[in-house]
């Protein structure tokens, strides 16, 4: 099955999801992007350049690590982890960003804009822009700017301008809107580096294509390290890019089950979550340029969402997943904030790994299911990012008293120095 082999007149559609829902003024821009992307995809040297760039700059291929301790402790399936946390800038976001950087060069544009929620994508984009010599603006909800200062600090030091978006809920979705507003004004010299497999066609396909490097590597590595394919593959799902990335390695393998893990927040029925597919609260709608399942009310206005992982805290989901969910090709589960904290502690102590809070959602579901599987079965988890950049969030989540008094001491020091 090639999910990107669109039927006539349905380009950009996955079942009933996807499409392009943009203001007319962007029509030419998105056409130009589509044409350029088609060229890139058809040109094997582009992919080769992309792989080489990631090898030399970001350390790809990232390894696959066997979690012997955790597997033993859980007493079921053998657990393997794909280590995209080892990428430069600390997450899989760099893959997509570097790919779009190359494409932006081909487009002949010198400015890039991007939305960011947790800051990971903004951090990656600012890094790419420094490397490619692009001017860079990052839109980020004001609430996120306030709580994700470390990433903002790095983005600014990498030379990006970070713009705090004061509209709406002042979080990721509002940053996306603001990006669109910039884009409809400056499309002539500006490329919009969308950070996940959402938005108007060709973004879902394009981001998935760049991220497919994860799955390509992982499939080969699993065959080499274990002699066979995994029985189940787990990934967290925010917009869906890291999950699409790893799943593409196995999507045509009948016996590999693919499981997406969404932000369960405070749990089913709480309405404080960001599960579009695992829970029943989302419905089909059209926003931010594409059609998919959104967490919205009956009139089509978006609901507030929540997850301890800022990178999962988003209203919509990758239209490809909406389709694969309908088809039963991917199973979706949710991990609650509480489960995530426990799984993070367990993973740190038993394996010395610190997955990002986002990635920990995949661990939660895998950890729940591993004990129900046979010891000769194999699980692969995608560790999309590292958690050490999330220290403020994790320390808060774990309610660490020593951390808090350290911060209070630092604040006192800064206040003293001012006087």
């Amino acid at each position: 099955m090639d999910i990107f082999d669109f039927s006539d007149g349905r380009e950009g559609y996955y079942g009933e999801y996807g499409g392009v829902f943009l203001p007319e003024i962007l029509h030419a821009t998105i056409e130009e992007l589509l044409v350029c992307f088609r060229e890139c995809k058809a040109d094997p040297t582009f992919w080769q350049d992309y792989v080489t760039l990631l090898q030399n700059y970001s350390g790809r291929p990232t390894p696959v690590t066997h979690l012997e301790n955790l597997s033993r402790k859980l007493g079921g399936a053998q657990i393997y982890v794909k280590r995209d946390d080892l990428n430069h800038t600390g997450s899989h976001k760099i893959n997509n960003v570097m790919g779009q950087g190359l494409l932006c060069q081909r487009l002949g544009k010198r400015k890039v804009i991007a939305e960011t929620g947790a800051g990971q994508h903004g951090f990656a984009t600012a890094t790419m822009a420094a490397k490619f010599g692009f001017e860079c603006k990052i839109y980020m909800g004001a609430v996120d700017v306030a709580r994700q200062r470390p990433n903002v600090f790095w983005m600014e030091n990498l030379g990006a301008e970070v713009i705090a978006v004061e509209d709406g809920q002042k979080t990721l979705k509002d940053a996306v809107n603001e990006c669109m507003r910039d884009w409809v004004t400056n499309m002539a010299d500006t490329h919009y580096i969308l950070g996940t497999a959402c938005g108007p066609h060709p973004f879902p396909e394009m981001v998935s294509w760049f991220q497919s490097i994860i799955g390509l590597e992982a499939r080969e590595q699993m065959l080499k390290q274990t002699g066979r394919l995994p029985d189940r593959v787990y990934a967290c799902v925010g917009g869906g890019s890291n999950a699409m990335g790893i799943f593409q390695g196995f999507i045509n393998d009948e016996n590999v089950e693919l499981i997406g893990s969404e932000g369960g927040g405070e749990g089913v029925g709480s309405y404080m979550h960001s599960s579009r597919l695992a829970y029943d609260d989302a419905t089909v709608g059209v926003a931010q340029g594409y059609k998919t399942y959104f967490l919205q009310n009956e009139e089509g206005n978006m609901n507030e969402t929540h997850s301890v992982a800022a990178g999962l805290d988003y209203i919509g989901v990758n239209p490809i997943f909406a389709h694969l969910h309908d088809q039963g090709k991917v199973r979706f589960e949710a991990a609650t904030d509480t489960e995530v904290k426990e799984a993070l502690k367990l993973t740190m102590r038993t394996e010395g790994l610190i997955p990002a809070l986002e990635s920990t959602h995949a661990f939660v579901t895998a950890i729940k299911e591993a004990p129900t599987m046979r010891k000769d079965e194999i699980i692969l988890i995608n560790q999309s990012g590292r958690g050490d950049k999330d220290i403020f969030t994790i320390a808060d989540a774990l309610d660490d008293a020593k951390w808090k008094s350290f911060i209070e001491g630092k604040a006192d020091q800064y206040r003293r120095e001012k006087n």
Binding site: L22, I25, R181, V286, E299, M302
Partner: protein, 255 residues
Amino acid sequence: MGLQSFIAERKQSKDILVMAHVVCGYPSFEENMQELEIMAEAGVDLVELQFPFSEPSADGPLFVHANEESLKAGTTVDQCFDFMRQVSGRFPFKVLMMGYYNTAFKMGEATFVRRVKEAGGVGYILPDLPIEESANLHRLSAQADIEPIILMTPTSSDKRLAQLGSVSRGMVYVVARKGVTGSKTNMGDDVLALIERCRQHTDVPMGVGFGISSKSDLDFLRGSADIAIVGTAALKTWQQSGASGLRKFFAELMA
């Protein structure tokens, strides 16, 4: 009477018509009504009633804020249609629904068309709905005799303008410049050239919008455009100087 014949009729006595805009429920439906009274008095010909949406990505800051505040105050789609019905019954100008596609999509396209029609609307503007996605809605609209307003833009190629022109009905909305609603457009040769290009691809009347705020803008467009579309400037005036300000604004604009 359909939109296009209404425009033709009005154009017999005026060389340029004016389309105005309110965001339903912002600052409140009462104030909306006061604004509309002033617009009617001033002789405004067409009005867009914007249904507020949580993700107004094609709007500028003032309208974004208006959408947000209106939703916060609890504005519903039902209230917007009710209001549309009252407005279209009360004033001589024609009313268009303006909003984002999700509002139509969520209730179903057929329901949407029926409700616009029932509320006395003559058409709708859905800026995030490209023509590729409009076939069914256009068909339903044609059946109901209301008009889907197509947007033509400075970035549209001739080929694209031809496509847009071929499905345009009622009127087209010429976007005078790149960007979102709200900032000033420099009325100059490019705007005239754009209108000229658009003209070659459609016969329906042509409204020009984005950044129109003064009599001189109108004078500039007179003779090339059929309708001047005034949005943000009116809302800004209302916020800054209320009813008397808005009255003065339209008086001067349409003098």
